[in-house]
Each structure stands twice: as structure tokens, then as C-alpha cells.
Symmetry: C2
Subunit: 561 residues, 2 copies
């Protein structure tokens, strides 16, 4: 079904726009772009890895190309070659040698992509579908992966090495070595044109840029653009607005292309205030209070709120030909594709719900969308995990199935505390977020002069997905034995439902004297509330760390007051 | 605004239908009905009680006419008469005497309704609005409340006596006593025509009938009509289908009347499978594990599932004149009124949402709606607390405000664990339910032969409101330290969203040997999960007792196997 094929063409990483990145046909790519790939065999449900490893030990961040291995209960994947399997199980007494010319034939367009690392040769055919970074891995196929890993340094970890090692099929023939090494070609660092992040942001990784909002940004209802948290899976595409188009593709193959000018002038512009939150927000707390989780160790700042402005996705879909009142039975999902190869989807019912407020946003807090937040066009899916608000949007595909990307099928899901053999296909993608809250005005270990904690004003946020309003925030100073209610602060939000966090304030009183831990939990309008412990919701990926949030206060010695 | 006035006319309680109960005008009542009341002064937001008492000590079940007192922070209600207040505060040295003729003038139509109890006289003006049973209390006004309390025996409790005592203004003059007593008139017991409940149901109260489903009924996906839990606030109205009409009243005063035949023949019939759950389900557990709660002490059986059949409320509203695509700004709530005086409302957006599946149901599990479940017509609001699925539906009022009944404004709300001074007006009515689960195949204290617990199959349900599907059920045999996943059972539900409970099964294994407590918690598709403890969600009304459900297994002595 070519109409739904996901092309992994990448925008060029230099300053000028890459028109070919928007082209539906691989043959139209610009020579300046990274080579397009024949990925039709990979772009459906990812195959299961040949030999898995325990989730808890090996799953990793959602950052591009981090390996993620799973011990599947019924791994039925065919072996590459029986003879090679035998070799491997015999501790590889006779290492098979491959000429580099043969390796090069196993490029991204091949049925069996190979890579080299050092002198070793790996057949990654079965890994491509499970690669958290998606099919970008195919760019390295046919040659050495080392120069890529020198840029995407997040791969330089033992657990990633272990995964690759499973796919080893031999080594490069000595006759092709130069000074005893496999010659590698230089590749361009795609991150060189990334915007420089605001220095107030707390940087977790630089390439790709992942940075959380500082406390002062979290104290405002709308987060300033400069200090809005950044969550990138890859580099920031460079594109000129006048050269960017959005393609909408329907189930019946209909395609329609919209320029940014079309979107700006032909459709009614709407403003929606919405909070975006990463599924990994507060992951660090889960690691601290339960056990190791794999992924970016966010504290409370992988969440921000902005006023978004643009067109309603439903209006554009109606223009393309979707029957909003009676969609075809095949119209089940709206898949979003970004310029940098990231992709995700939401149920079509959310996309076309008049109360769903799903936007194609061109502006953020009144300004042009900043590059790191998706310029020139991004999706905003209020109430859902931010991973669905795809940035640098180049295409929307209406489909009978969810996006086939890793980020839809193998990441942004959650499993039971002891679930080391998750059934990925059966698990529901995270869409609406559960209720959560956090203290933001003071950090863990905040020091106060002895006795002055009772005069402290504490602030924070509470948020629930699906537009469910926060109805109560409870604060405890005695470890959850008793609770009092925080004041919910007014806000001026635009939108059909409660898409935004609720900011709250609590003045500690006499009863707080000598108490060293503050705890907070929120309740939303469906009266869902937060779990008490991280251990009860532990999952190896550390997603949705929504347990009661606590902050320890440290007393200064009297003399230091 | 007469168009939105709530009349408290009651259907007659004998076998024949009371047409007057459907009449919009008090003057048209049948002489067979209980007297109509001029309740215009009571039918808005209830006034605050003159002198409150602590919520924890006095709030009570949602059963009709049980007293509910609240200590309000700023009670500004005017005193009835300064002089009487002075008398009361002086320990009533000179008791004021009233002739019965004067008492009789303070009937339900009076500005200041009085009642007598024993020889005492009470001015209940300020209590009417706070009475959990609604304005039904006015039927006793002008005379003795004793014959009513002899039928509604749930009032015979010290906390209710205490509330009444606050409103004492004097005593009946001795000249009107007969044999030293205030003469009382006989009143008809409205419960005499109630259906006899199935003997398998667990009866909590007989008048009104409140009965929970037995374990065997909870083991089926659709609960049989006979063992579907019963939650009545009053008696079961007797009405003939051919004499029953539904009135729809719009904001602009438009009224349209539909016979049952109209609903059956003029509108498309739909089937929706939906779970109904009382806000008090599992309240008994909250009492046991936290502290005293006021209300019916349900265990796990105030929940059942049925296939409902009828017309979509949105279709009927469209026929009456509601613009479904662009409702008027005043069209905010759909208020439902039952024949017996019960009333509640839902937001209009839910009522008209094509995915909301709100039904006016005429059939239940393929049969005519049983009398105790709302014959001939009831509302079904899938995903919301069952208190909104009003039975014996006589009228739908589209309004800019919520239903003004106690059940919308003063009951079916929830507050913080320590919230003894709740702001009722600021609190959101419970609509969508939070995620919950329970073990149903074995009851607490279930006895097994020592060592055989490891061969036990356990079953139960999990449910979440708002149509949010259950994605996982976790079972623990070690007090929540570790969890395993239960098997989710297939079901055949009809409807747009996941309106039904998910039944689950878990086979205990070797690891359960010697373990005595089973625990269960569920997660829904928004990844909300249940709180660990009842204390963290405690509220004096005992609503939404959704903490992890646990069942203790008792080991039989070896000899008794």
C-alpha cells in the first residue's frame, strides 16, 4: 500500500530548505539530502528481535537510535542462516570474513542491511524494526556505524554494544583494512545547525537537544518560549517557511498539498492554550524512589504551557475530503510525519472532534514558532502525551492503523511493575495523560533557617490529560498522614476543555514547624488521583512517573541564618 | 423563571398511574396524589443550614431525607427571629407554646414550613434546601413528622435527631393534646407497591430498596436483570406505559411531549452495553480501612452491567429543537426529573456528543425495563456515575445550570481527606468515574484448605469512567510488593467507547502458597491507576472508594479439608 508508506527521507541538515524531503517519491530527492531509502520492507510493524534481552536491563531512552531489547515469550523470527547460528553458538571458532564491497551491497536499500563497527560485520535486518531511533539506522547500512555513533554518542553504552553484538555475522576481510582499520567515510554532523538553547534551560543531552524548564519558567501560567522545555528525538530541521508544504494523504490515496500561506490565509485561525508534557516527566523520581529506569532523567520540568495559534486539523482534513460527520470505516488514525523522520499518530476521533482542539500550529505565545519547537508547523494535540504533537510537520496520513514508527509501536507505552515480557502489540499507546502534580517553587534539598519552614509559600502545578480539569490539590507535611488543600490559581486559558496545568499555592503554617518533607497529590474531575508510590507503577522505561511528589526541606544551622 | 422550576409533585403510590405527576402546573394535580407544593422558594440553590454540625459526625447516606449537616465557614443565614434565638441560647427557660392550628398554617406551601415531632415544634425553613431527600420533606410540613419517619425509618438515628433539634422553636399547646399526645394522621406507605426484590440480592435497606448484586451475578459480563444491583432514593413509582409521557423543555421555554409510543416508533432504536456503578460502591472498605463513612455500606456489588436499548437522547433533543452542532450558549446542562421527585443532570456536551451514547432506555438486557430499574423509561449515561442515569424519567430540562436537587448540589461530590469545611458550591459534581477494580469470585475471609490457595482461580472486574478502556489489571499476593498481570476476558459490548467493566481472571500459582491476602489494582487507557490507601482518598461521605481492593484468605485446618 504505497499510499501509506513511510519515507525516511531526511531534510538536509544545512541551512537551505530541502524540497525533496517533502516529496512523496524517493526518486525526487535532492542530491543535497541524505540518501533516500527503500524501506518498504521495514515500514510496517517492526519485526521482533532475533534474540532478546531483558527489558529491565536494556531498554533505553527514547533518544534516536538507542537500542531497546526485549525478551519476547514467543520469538519466532526466522534465523538469518542456520549455518551462521551454528557458528555463533560455537563461540565462533572460524570467523567468517567479508569483503567491504559485499558489505556495501547491503546498504539501506538492501533486503538485508549490514553495518560494520570496528572490524566486525553485523546483519541488522531483524533489528531495524525494533530500533528506537527508527529507520534512520539504515543510513549507516552498507558501511561503518562508527562515524554515526561519534555524533549520536548516546549509543556509546555497554547495553547498546550488547544488542549489536547479537547480530554479528563475521568480520571485514584483512585485505580491505587500512593501517589495520576499516576505512570510514566522514559524515556531516546534522546537529551543527541546531539553535543554541537558552542558558536558563537545564540541558540533559545536547545532541539531540533535550532540556527541561527551570523553576522560574514553571512559576508562570504560560511558559516563555525561550524557557519552554525542549524534547528532540533528532536534530532541528532547517527549512524556509515559503518552501515548506504540508501534504495530507487520505485512505483512498487522495493527496492534497498546502503551503504555509494556504494554512494562514484559507483557514480560520484559532488560539488554544495547552500544556505539553513528556511521558518521561519526573522519571528521575521513579529511579530514585523505585529502581533504575531507562531514559532521560527528567525532574519536574519536562512540562510547559503555551498559547498555540494556527488552524484546526479538522478544518484542513475536511478540506482534503474527510467526512467529519461520518468518516469512512478505514479512517481510524491520523499519522503525523516530521521533517527529521520522527512520526506518531492519534486516533482520528480525537483529530476531528470539535471539542478536541487539535491544531496545526504556526505560532507559540504570539510569536512565530521557534525552530526548536517545530518551525514552521507543528501539531498540538491538547490533553495527549506531547510525543503526539509532532514538530516540523510535513505530512498527515489518514490510515486504518497507527503510525508504524517506533515512537508509536515500541516506545511511549507502559507496562506493569514486574512486566519483563511485555506484549508490545497488545499494549495501548500512551495518548491521554494520567493526573499528576509537582512542587516547583522549591527543589529537593531546599534549605531554610530552622523554624522558618512554617512561613514558606510553596507553589507548583497539577495536570491531567484528556481535558480533565484539576479539582483539588492536597498538600501534606507529615508524609501523607493528613492533608490540607492548596489554593488553585486562576488562569486565562483558551480552548474547549481544561487542556492546561492548574497552578497552585500553599502557605505552610504552624503545623509545618520542624517538618522536613512536603508532599503533593492532585485529583481531577473524574476523581482520579495519583498513586502513592513509584514502585506500584514502576516500569522499566520510567514512563508516567505520577506518584505523589515530595520535596525534602533541609534545615540550615541556626548560625547560618 | 417558571420554565425551569422543579415541581416536587409525586406520582401516586397506588397501582394506577398518576397523570397529574406529569403536569407542569401544580393546580392540575390529581386528588389521588400527595398534595402538590409551592416550592418555588426552595427550588434553587439550597440555603445553608442555620447552625451546622461537623460533616464527619453527621453526614449521612444518600437515602431520602437523611439529615446532612455541615459546619460552614461563613454561615450568614439570617436568624428566623431574634427573640427565638435568644430563647434558645438561654436553654429555653420559657418554652413557647403553639396551637396546632398555627402549625397547620405552616404547611408545604408556607414561606416558613414547620413540623412537629412528639410535642416539639420545629421551623425547618432553613433546613429544606439542605435536606438530602430534597423537598419531599415538605409533605410533612404543617403536621407531625412521626408517621413519615415510621415509614422512612432511616431517620431514626441520633445524628438526625440532633439536626432536627437545632430548629426547635417551641412545643404544642397542651390544650391540643389528646391523651397527652399530639394527634397524628395516618399516611399511606408509598413503598407498599414496590416490587419484591430477588432473594439472591443482598438487601441493605428495604425502604427505599437498596440491594447489591451477589457474587454470582458479578461473574457474568451482563448482569441478569433479577440480580442487577438496586439503588433507590425513594419508592418505585407505579405507572402504565401508555399513560406515561416524556416532556422535554428547552431554555427558551419550548416544551414538547413524547409518548412511549413516540419514542419507540419515531426514533431509531440503539443498543448500548454499559456498566452502572454507585458512587458508594466499596464504601464499606473505606469504613473498614480508614474510618467511619456515612452512607449505605456497599461492598463490591453496587455495580452491574446490562445491554440497554432505546433512543439516543441527542436524537430526541434535536427533534425538540436543540441545535446539536451549535447549541445556544445557555444550553449547558440536561436536567433529568424522575416520577418520584429524584433529579440530576449532566453537561449538555455529554448529552449531545455523538460518541456519548446517552440513551433514553426502554429495554434492559432484551426485556422491558423492570419496574425497579426505571420502567417505563430511564436515562442511561454511560461512563458517568449511576446517579445521573435517572429512573422513571418524566422530564428533561435543558438549562444554563445544573439540576438544583440535593443529589446534584449537595450529594455525589467528594472532598479531601481532612476537608471538614467543604465548599459545596465550588466542588464539581461527580460525573465520570475514576478507575477501580475488585475481586468478586471470593469474599473476604474465604476459607481454603491449607496449601490449596496456590490452585485458586480468582476473578473480578475492573472499570473506569468516561469510556476509558481498562488496559491492565495487576494482582499481588504479597501486599503490593510485587505484581503480576491478570488475564483480561473478552466481552461483546455495544457502544462507541469502553462503557463496560472489564472482567479478569487470575490463576494463583506456587508463589501464592501460604499467602493470605490478594490485592488487585487496575490501569485505564489514560494510564490512571488506583490509589493505594483508603486514608488518602477518605471523605466523610465515603464516595469513590477506589483504593486497591484486597481480600484475605483464611486457611482451614488441615483436618477440615
Amino acid at each position: 500500500m504505497s499510499a501509506r508508506r513511510l519515507f525516511t527521507q531526511l531534510s538536509r541538515v544545512t541551512g537551505k530548505a530541502c524540497r525533496a524531503a517533502l516529496s512523496p517519491s524517493p526518486s525526487k530527492h535532492s542530491s543535497e539530502c541524505l540518501k533516500p531509502l527503500n524501506t518498504s520492507k521495514f515500514n510496517r510493524i517492526p519485526p521482533k528481535p532475533r534474540r532478546g534481552v531483558l527489558l529491565g536491563a536494556l531498554t533505553s531512552s527514547s533518544v534516536i537510535a538507542v537500542a531497546l531489547g526485549v525478551q519476547f515469550q514467543e520469538s519466532k523470527a526466522a534465523l538469518h542462516e542456520e549455518s551462521k547460528e551454528a557458528e555463533l553458538s560455537n563461540s565462533v571458532p572460524d570467523i567468517q570474513k567479508f569483503r567491504l564491497a559485499e558489505v556495501e551491497r547491503h546498504d539501506g536499500a538492501s533486503e538485508n542491511p549490514w553495518v560494520t563497527k570496528g572490524k566486525s560485520v553485523y546483519d541488522i535486518t531483524e533489528w531495524v524494526g525494533a530500533h528506537p531511533g527508527g529507520e534512520v539506522i539504515l543510513h549507516a547500512a552498507g558501511g561503518s556505524i562508527d562515524p554515526y555513533w561519534n555524533i549520536f554518542t548516546i549509543h556509546k553504552r555497554q547495553d547498546v554494544y550488547d544488542i549489536l553484538e547479537q547480530y554479528k555475522i563475521g568480520e571485514v576481510d584483512d585485505v580491505d583494512l587500512v593501517d589495520g582499520q576499516v576505512p570510514t567515510k566522514a559524515i556531516k554532523d546534522p546537529f551543527t545547525t541546531d539553535p543554541v538553547p537558552d542558558e536558563r534551560l537545564h540541558i540533559l543531552t545536547a545532541k539531540p537537544c533535550n532540556a527541561e524548564s527551570p523553576g522560574e519558567a514553571l512559576s508562570e501560567f504560560c511558559t516563555p518560549n525561550e524557557t519552554f522545555y525542549v524534547r528532540n528525538h533528532m536534530w532541528v530541521p532547517s527549512v524556509e517557511e515559503q518552501e515548506h508544504n504540508l501534504v495530507i494523504e487520505l485512505c483512498d490515496g487522495t493527496e492534497k498539498t498546502y503551503s504555509m500561506s494556504d494554512l494562514r490565509n484559507r483557514f480560520k485561525q484559532h488560539k488554544v492554550t495547552a500544556t505539553l508534557q513528556c511521558a518521561g516527566n519526573r522519571r528521575k523520581d521513579m529511579t530514585k524512589h523505585a529502581r533504575q529506569t531507562n531514559g532521560l532523567q527528567w525532574t519536574v520540568g519536562a512540562i510547559s504551557t503555551a498559547e498555540w495559534e494556527g488552524v484546526k486539523l479538522r478544518d484542513v482534513l475536511a478540506d482534503t475530503g474527510v467526512n467529519l460527520n461520518n468518516p469512512s470505516p478505514d479512517d481510524k488514525h491520523a499519522q503525523f510525519l516530521g521533517l527529521e523522520a520522527y512520526g506518531a499518530s492519534i486516533p482520528l476521533c480525537k483529530a476531528i472532534d470539535p471539542s478536541g482542539d487539535v491544531l496545526l500550529a504556526l505560532k507559540m505565545n504570539g510569536d512565530t514558532l521557534p525552530r526548536e519547537h517545530g518551525f514552521p508547523l507543528r501539531v498540538i494535540v491538547p490533553g495527549n502525551v506531547a510525543a503526539r504533537s509532532v514538530k516540523w510537520l510535513r505530512k498527515v496520513v489518514i490510515s486504518d492503523e497507527e503510525s508504524t514508527t517506533q515512537w508509536q509501536r515500541r516506545d511511549y507505552k507502559s507496562f506493569g511493575p514486574n512486566d519483563t515480557r511485555p506484549d508490545w502489540d497488545a499494549a495501548k499507546s500512551i495518548q491521554e495523560m494520567p493526573v499528576t502534580s509537582a512542587i516547583t517553587s522549591i527543589l529537593n534539598g531546599f534549605a531554610v533557617a530552622e523554624g522558618t519552614e512554617k512561613g514558606l509559600n510553596v507553589e507548583g502545578y497539577a495536570y491531567s490529560g484528556g481535558g480533565r480539569e484539576i479539582v483539588r490539590v492536597d498538600v501534606s507535611t507529615d508524609g501523607g498522614k493528613t492533608w490540607d488543600q492548596a489554593e488553585l490559581l486562576d488562569d486565562k486559558a483558551m480552548g474547549t476543555k481544561a487542556w492546561c496545568w492548574k497552578r497552585w499555592r500553599y502557605a505552610l503554617g504552624e503545623s509545618a514547624e520542624g517538618k522536613t518533607t512536603l508532599m503533593v497529590k492532585a485529583t481531577d474531575e473524574a476523581y482520579n488521583t495519583q498513586p502513592q508510590s513509584y514502585s506500584s507503577i514502576y516500569n522499566a522505561r520510567g514512563n508516567l512517573a505520577t506518584a505523589w511528589h515530595s520535596v525534602d526541606i533541609k534545615s540550615l544551622d541556626k548560625g547560618t541564618d
